[in-house]
């Protein structure tokens, strides 16, 4: 299987290009529609409060109240956006849920203070299995502004903020260190903020998976 990068930068009318091709046995490809919290309602209707937690009740945990959507199930990975989307808490997993609350534990950082208004999004998670050292090339893309996180057994190893319609890529021999070197990746998670509706995300990787 093959991967190619064909890109150039234009500065002062001069083109500086990369034309690289890689070939390996293994390919992982995934394309799906992102999870949206409530695709048919306005964002204002999904505002939530932190019922308790806020960094005082339990580190990296919080309970989210004041919504009646039953989207979440135990085990879902979620991201909490607040401060107008400027700040976020990633890596939490739903540990309990009911009619008017969702309990989230195991986030990468602490949640903000109680009563902080924000938005809780369920990540679109792709289960994968590859070694970062075996990569020749990988790329991610989303139609909406999104954050993509590469996980190794529930530990975040690389988080990339994508602008709408823009890809991120790495390819061997383009002058940049492999950002996933030394990692055993088990999951790729997408979460977008602010878009409501059908938005496509993509992930693909070319890797050596033959002993």
């Amino acid at each position: 299987m093959k991967a190619t990068v064909d890109a150039y930068v234009n500065i002062l009318g001069k083109r500086y290009g990369i034309e690289q091709m890689a070939e390996e046995e293994g390919v992982i490809k995934h394309e799906s529609v992102l999870n949206t919290w409530i695709p048919s309602e306005s964002l204002a209707a999904v505002e939530i409060d932190i019922g308790f937690g806020g960094g005082t009740e339990s580190t990296f945990s919080g309970t989210f109240a004041a919504f009646d959507d039953d989207t979440y199930t135990v085990g879902d990975r979620v991201t909490f956006f607040y401060n107008g989307g400027v700040d976020k808490v990633v890596g939490g997993l739903v540990s309990d849920e009911g009619a008017n609350f969702v309990r989230v534990t195991g986030a990468d950082t602490n949640f903000p203070a109680e009563e902080t208004v924000g938005y809780l999004f369920k990540d679109t998670s792709i289960d994968v299995s590859f070694e970062g050292d075996d990569l020749e090339c990988f790329a991610v893309y989303c139609e909406a502004a999104a954050t993509v996180t590469f996980w190794a057994s529930d530990v975040s190893k690389l988080a990339i903020d994508l602008t709408a319609g823009q890809s991120y890529f790495w390819m061997k021999n383009t002058g940049y260190t492999n950002p996933l070197a030394g990692e055993s990746i088990t999951e790729v998670g997408f979460v977008m903020y602010g878009a409501v509706g059908t938005e496509v995300c993509k992930f693909a990787a070319l890797h050596n998976n033959v002993e």
Partner: protein, 209 residues
């Protein structure tokens, strides 16, 4: 106001990923530098150290004792390697003594190893890495090497493959590789042994305080 643009596409097993970035800034630097051809040789002595003697160099070499040189080779695994910045203290017949006063950036390969030795060109410049929104480079023919220098210290070095370019642009997803550096020189060389080549460097940056 200048605009730097990145356009392209990544394809992995037929799945396409578009790449389009556009950034604007007031300042621009464009360099088109002739770099002297390089010469094939062999490590005579100093293998495994930061200075040594390269022998078997063509007698027509234009490398002189006033130069600083880069040494290119390909290791046993087929990966490109380089040490850069060594001084030249003597050129006698087919031998070049180098790295004795200003050491190379790393160790030369073992004695007897085939290498390419190239005189570097120094481009004097002045810009703050933190202010850069795009930077790019390529050599017209052959493998090339570029180093961004802050007060005689190489803050970023890039080994550029034959026929390829290198670039960084804001929004690419990688941290600015020269942020915090006050770049006052750029060192360039080519590993091409056929003829002098042209090295292109472009920088777009916020030049207004």
């Amino acid at each position: 106001m200048g605009t730097a643009k990145l356009d392209g596409n990544v394809s992995i097993a037929g799945m396409g990923f578009p790449v389009h970035i556009s950034v604007e800034d007031e300042g621009g630097i464009g360099q088109q530098v002739t770099v002297p051809m390089a010469y094939a040789g062999t490590v005579k002595s100093g293998g495994g150290t930061t200075d040594g003697v390269i022998e078997g160099v063509a007698l027509t070499t234009t490398i002189t004792a006033a130069d600083n040189v880069d040494v290119y080779w390909v290791d046993a695994a087929g990966d490109p390697q380089i040490v850069y910045g060594g001084d030249v203290s003597d050129v006698t017949d087919d031998e070049i003594t180098c790295g004795g006063v200003t050491a190379f950036s790393g160790n030369l390969p073992a004695n007897g190893y085939a290498v390419i030795i190239a005189a570097r060109k120094v481009v004097t410049t002045a810009f703050l890495g933190t202010a850069v929104s795009a930077v790019a480079a390529y050599c017209s023919v052959g493998r090339g090497h570029i180093a961004f220098i802050d007060t005689a210290v190489a803050e970023l070095t890039v080994d550029i493959a034959d026929g390829e370019g290198w670039f960084w642009i804001e929004g690419l997803g990688y941290a600015n590789p020269i942020t915090g550096d006050d770049i006052d020189e750029i060192w360039v060389s080519t590993a091409d042994t056929i003829a002098d080549r042209t090295f292109y460097v472009g920088v777009q940056y916020d030049s207004v305080s």
